[in-house]
Symmetry: C2
Subunit: 204 residues, 2 copies
């Protein structure tokens, strides 16, 4: 069976960078925005629209698992959300079957639970997340500290809603992960080889 | 400054074993029951009584930090709790000043926060904690599964109350720790060198 690592992460915690660095060190495929590109290709929606849907809390009243019989009316927005989630589900499973891989976000830990992935959650204190967002530059440079803090909280709230809606579990709740890493005041570049060493032993 | 590691742990998660193994691998002093012995010596209470107080939720209505002016009546039980906590506080600080050390439980992360300890939290799924308790043997062998589960939950609830009472923080809440480790289905013997490697780099 392929070695699978999933990374849940707070916005600004450096989880994506950690995923990318782990994939380089460990020689594993890395999927993040590639998933959005692939969904867009398969559904003929634009990448921007798919990204928007994935980053916002779902508008459906019931999770997919409850089935269609609860929707007597056809709602095109609901249908699109459902199509995107189903496609994402399919693509993540295909990727995990193809080779060892690291998947950032997107309920990967839940979707691949039968493959027994190593599940990481990355988090940090607000000040540290703000500093990391500022370092990334352009997209945050016009925001005041207050606005940036609100944006970080909003993104994380949406991630939590999305995760809880599709998995029925609490996002960030320790029992859903094998290792939770606080990146406050830590360099991801220095953390990555330590986490890789840990994973190499645990994934044997 | 000495290198300090604190370990918070759910009952049955293997946190104590992890602490002991880390101390052997890393050549650091290890304090766990030694703290109780020292408190008993200094307060002239029995070790059993000190242990009992530490393992049960506090009976005071206000944390020590609020001060004495709220207690117009002298309560001998309250006074003993307070004496034990103050002594524990003093001993943990003395130990951390003496040498590199690993401290299991006892609000060590909070008491030593100015020494910037590396704070670990160890947890596991209930089934795994029950299995670990059964392996330890004697003290749990007469309990049914239901009783054992209740005992584990009770101990953890008391630890949470104790921690929250004295620190004002939520026990097990990820932001209070640098690394949270899920020991479900993992051997502590195999985990210990991986955690030691992680710590050696982070504590430099």
């Amino acid at each position: 069976m392929n070695r699978i690592v999933t990374i849940g992460r707070e916005f600004g915690s450096g989880g994506r960078e950690l995923g990318r660095r782990l994939s380089e060190i460990m020689g594993m495929a890395y999927y993040d925005k590639e998933i959005v590109t692939e969904i867009a290709k398969r559904t003929s929606m634009s990448e921007e629209y798919v990204q928007h849907i994935i980053e916002h809390r779902p508008v459906m009243s019931y999770p997919i698992s409850i089935g269609r019989s609860f929707y007597p009316m056809v709602n095109p927005i609901t249908d699109q959300h459902q199509t995107i989630y189903q496609e994402q589900h399919r693509i993540i499973r295909e990727m995990a079957e193809k080779s060892d891989c690291i998947i950032v976000g997107r309920c990967g830990d839940y979707i691949l639970k039968e493959q027994n992935p190593f599940r990481i959650f990355v988090y940090a204190e607000m000040e540290s997340k703000m500093a990391r967002c500022r370092e990334r530059g352009a997209e945050h440079e016009n925001l005041t500290d207050r606005e940036l803090k609100q944006q970080i909280s909003r993104v994380d709230k949406n991630r939590a809603k999305y995760y809880e809606f599709y998995t029925g579990h609490r996002w960030g709740e320790r029992l859903n992960y094998d290792l939770c890493i606080n990146t406050t005041d830590r360099s991801i570049k220095e953390l990555a080889p330590l986490v890789a060493h840990f994973l190499n032993e645990c994934l044997q």
